[in-house]
Assembly symmetry: C2
Homo-oligomer: 611 residues x 2
């Protein structure tokens, strides 16, 4: 390797790049107690601008790490979208308003906007509380990996070596550090050095659509300045995205084709004042002025590409913008990035702890590359719609308000992130699905309010399944006041946690660190006794819930119905990332065994081997 | 005054006693920027035990100071009450469960339990953020006040002098400080030195009921250990109050009349083990054991008394246990105390700022002494019910489950604090009430979800009226898309905030520091434009709301209906403590003028006088 005075070190996971994907990864791994380092070549985090939209599903994910409260406190919320089209007298007129989010099951039925630097701070502060900091400015200069199959299959080996250079002492002879890592995550952006070094190609194309973006606090009489607006004006298309405080982001379509020269943007052709002038014209007859400083502005061409591979030997991964680029129109960028590493965190942790086979990591590319491809397909339709002219008398082929609104709402499951559906694999097993006929294996567990049996306090079920790297085994226990049902539950309890039970075989006596068991009765709140359940289903009084309506209030009592679970009950296995992995009846214990055995390492077998 | 080396100092408000009443007062005054000091003779805050129940209304009040989040995070919630009575086979059996809180309009329909020390910490940390600390151990040793009527009527004078002694240097010659105060608040507990020095008598009596209290973590198969339980057992009455963590408080009735000797408790007659033995017997056939340390325990006789006066010349006030003692059975103690000073904070601030006449302070005793008397009357009925034996075959005169449950629910408005209703006075003016026929002038503004007009984000109306010492003027504007209604609104805006408008006369051009104006349209969320309102009703885009249902969700859209406001609109004036002071139609501006003029000082008159 180049350079002198190379220091050697070892780490379980080295993350390259401290944007949203890298920080999500570093925070999640450190929360799980994994030995992790994160480096970034930039001297500081993003000060302004960049990505800013957090989708409903991403808020749920952040909540599963205990980070949503701060996001919700600091961010702006988009509940309503307004649609403007050419009016009869030349300017624009409001054609209608519609919900900004159309995903019925969203726990947070709105988008949140907050500048990328503030979102990064949420992760940075969480990491800081555990002593983890981003090392910067530090860049990778070399990346090597073993081809030895035995080494690659051994999760305790360090088959990857990265040479890191500290950029803060440019004038001196560069000091290099050789880091030996079990795993490397390249979250180093659209121009990813890791991706290029691995030789993965970006597949896809670039459009001809050019947009300008400006963040500022405007002065206006436009009544929808705090709603998301899609404006099809005779003077060009425009999008309004209100931000935290009084800030507003304007996306402004540029029709001057001279801005693109030989497939690249010529930024010298237009300045920010000209962008604002276009915005002024687009909003007429409303008045919009820009008396305040411009916080950030840029130009971009929409490019839609996905990397050919996301992983090298399940030892080096790429995530975030390094894997996929697309238009910012539907606000997907930062969301897709954070959800990439959310998918990876628990899998790396399971393998590093020796709980799961290293092959589990194959599901990262399998799940996230397919998602990225779907995202690009969606983005093509969606951004074309935004970039097309509105229908007018002169332009009868333009898009109508009805077409636009229909598309906007059809795409709701996608734009919200709620509809993400992972295809069948070892960790997504749709067999036996009928026991909870309205849950979709491969999708995230939808929200429901349950009452805690011991004290009738309401809880959101999503808050019971935090991203703590444990699989959650939800025992929908049926009527726990019924003696026959109690017998079935005691049998299940014995098969799971009794002598030679499945959980004991899988994870040993301390299986509580691998699995979290939560029980949900459907007895009435007046009759339920948490003391009626088998001991392993109530390791603490707070682990038993009932599906009943609040003591004072209207929420709750819909879990069995909306999940499609009968009075016989069901077992629902939720992956550590909140996605449903398996559903089965409470008498079908073998299928639980088969599910976990397909990717987990039997601890009882290991003990046998060790002795 | 006694002692040597007396230092002299001046302060606007001196608070004596740093329990819940004193800390609420100190925190509220410091939040308002008032020059305040607080002293306490104890060397540290309460470590365990004592009061622990926070009622629904008190949670609303804490929320108005921004303090409820932490309470809710740290505290335990009581949603359900369970009732046990003698069963057929000798032990107890559950007769039923019922909501713990029966106040329909409660925003937080549950009680919260948390030990007094943790509640005090919430105030202490809030005060600390503004540099205010409790001076301790510091005791008052002398209290003098001026009898000069001119001085008493001048809000800028210091008519009270308190000699303070620092108890931390007992061995030395006592160092005294002579503090000259504009106002003194004695929040120094049931044995109040301030009250005794003022010569105010405690009026009322003591009962013969003796109870023991124990805080510990029990080991039990009793299924309602996390609910509030009223247990009428053949072996004596018992109450279960679950607390934070796994802690439980048990109230145990003692029937051994020898514990009272000459009207005083003889604590030597019973120890904690004997108390626990009574609890074990009362809960049979359920098992309850006490393997963990006892956090706190005590014995008490129920005494029910109210001080003859709460104020000396509106310059020295007493608050909290210094004014009223009663049984802890309905968990009122700490709540009544904090609400005493919540009532006083804004009045002191208004007078100190020169906004209101000093006579405003008369309403403190007027409102809070009547409340204390009502509390005692309620407590007599309620605690007698708890101390009476259950009806059994041997004891046919005992109280039945039905009688008990009916009383429990009838008292809901009182036990929850939601029903507090201040009688008419300068600041509670029920004339014109019909414009909002279902609001009750003198009660707190009931919760409602509104949508913010500019972005359809839902807000709880109570969060729009924080305890920031400003009067809130709620303009229920009707249909703001209607041109006729707009005209009426522009007229109102002119009469309030135009040249020579009422608010200008009352408070000058910067009336926004005295009054906060919030507008509530009832246009649909699809049509409402915040830009349609007069400028003074939308000093920022975030000040306009509409009464509509959430974009995604079922809350909202009920404010006009549940407040009894017609499409013509109404003006609702909410006092700085959240209680409704006045309701009127939007064309009846004179009545707004009359309301404020009855206790506020016209700033335009002052300016005239100054010039």
């Amino acid at each position: 390797m180049p350079g002198t005075l190379a220091n050697e070190s070892h780490v379980d996971v080295l993350i390259i790049g401290a944007g949203p994907a890298g920080l999500m990864c570093a925070n999640g791994l450190s929360l799980a107690g994994v030995n992790v380092r994160i480096v970034d070549q930039r001297p500081d985090k993003v000060p302004a601008g960049q990505a800013d939209g957090i989708q409903p599903r991403t808020i749920e994910v952040l909540q599963s790490y205990g980070l949503a409260d701060r996001l919700l406190r600091e961010g702006n919320q988009l509940h309503m979208a307004a649609f403007y089209n050419p009016g009869p007298s030349g300017g624009i007129t409001r054609t209608g308003r519609a919900p900004d989010v159309t995903a019925a099951s969203a726990r947070y039925p709105f988008e949140t906007t907050l500048h990328q630097g503030a979102i990064e701070s949420i992760f940075l502060d969480s990491m800081k509380s555990r002593g983890l900091f981003v090392e910067r400015p530090v860049a990778p200069v070399a990346l090597e990996w073993s081809q030895d199959e035995n080494q690659l299959q051994d999760p305790t080996s360090y088959p990857v070596t990265v040479a890191l250079k500290n950029l803060s002492d440019e004038t001196q002879e560069p000091r290099l550090e050789r880091v030996h890592a079990k795993f490397v995550v390249g979250a180093d952006g659209a121009h990813s050095w890791v991706r290029k070094t691995l030789g993965f190609a970006m597949e896809g194309e670039q459009t001809e659509f050019v947009w300008g973006v400006v963040d500022t606090i405007p002065d206006t009489d436009f009544p929808d300045i705090r709603n998301r607006c899609a404006i099809h004006s005779p003077n060009g298309s425009c999008m309004v995205i209100p931000r935290e405080g009084d800030m507003v982001r304007l996306y402004i379509q540029l029709t001057d084709s001279q801005i693109i020269e030989a497939g690249r943007l010529n930024k010298g052709k237009i300045n920010c004042d000209q962008l604002l002038q276009v915005a002024r014209k687009s909003l007429k007859p409303f008045r919009i002025e820009f008396p305040n400083p411009i916080d950030w502005w840029t130009l971009y061409i929409i490019g839609q590409r996905v990397a050919s591979k996301f992983s090298m030997h399940e030892r080096i991964f790429i995530a975030g913008d390094a894997c996929h680029t697309h238009s910012p129109k539907a606000g997907q960028g930062m969301n897709a990035s954070m959800n990439d590493t959310h998918n990876l965190i628990w899998k790396l942790t399971q393998v590093l702890r020796g709980w799961s086979h290293i092959s589990l990591l194959k599901t990262y590319e399998f799940e996230r590359r397919k998602y990225a491809q779907d995202l690009i397909a969606f983005d093509k339709k969606f951004s074309a719609l935004f970039s097309t002219k509105a229908q007018t008398d002169e332009d009868p082929d333009g898009v109508t308000h009805e077409q636009f609104l229909e598309a906007f709402q059809t795409f709701g499951g996608f734009t919200s992130g709620i509809g993400i559906h992972y295809a069948p694999s070892d960790i997504v097993n749709p067999e036996g699905q009928s026991a909870a006929s309205k849950l979709i294996v491969g999708q995230r567990l939808p929200p429901q309010i349950l009452l805690r049996a011991a004290d009738c306090r309401p809880f959101e079920i999503q808050d019971l399944i935090p991203a703590d790297t444990r699989f959650k085994i939800l025992i929908f226990a049926g009527n726990t006041n019924d003696t026959q049902q109690q017998k079935r539950l005691f049998t299940l309890a014995d098969q799971l946690g009794g002598d030679g039970g499945i959980l004991i075989k899988l994870a040993g006596a301390a299986y509580g660190s691998v699995f979290d068991i939560i029980s949900v009765s459907n007895s009435s709140k007046e009759d339920v006794n948490y003391t009626d359940l088998p001991a392993i289903f109530r390791t603490h009084w707070s682990k038993v819930f009932t599906d009943a309506q609040e003591v004072a209030g209207l929420r709750g009592g819909m879990a069995y119905k909306s999940y499609g679970i009968s009075k016989d009950g069901a077992v629902v296995i939720v992956r550590p990332d909140g996605y449903i992995g398996k559903v089965t009846g409470i008498e079908n214990v073998n299928s639980i065994n088969q599910y976990f055995s397909s990717f987990m390492i039997m601890q009882s077998a290991m003990t046998l081997h060790d002795s």
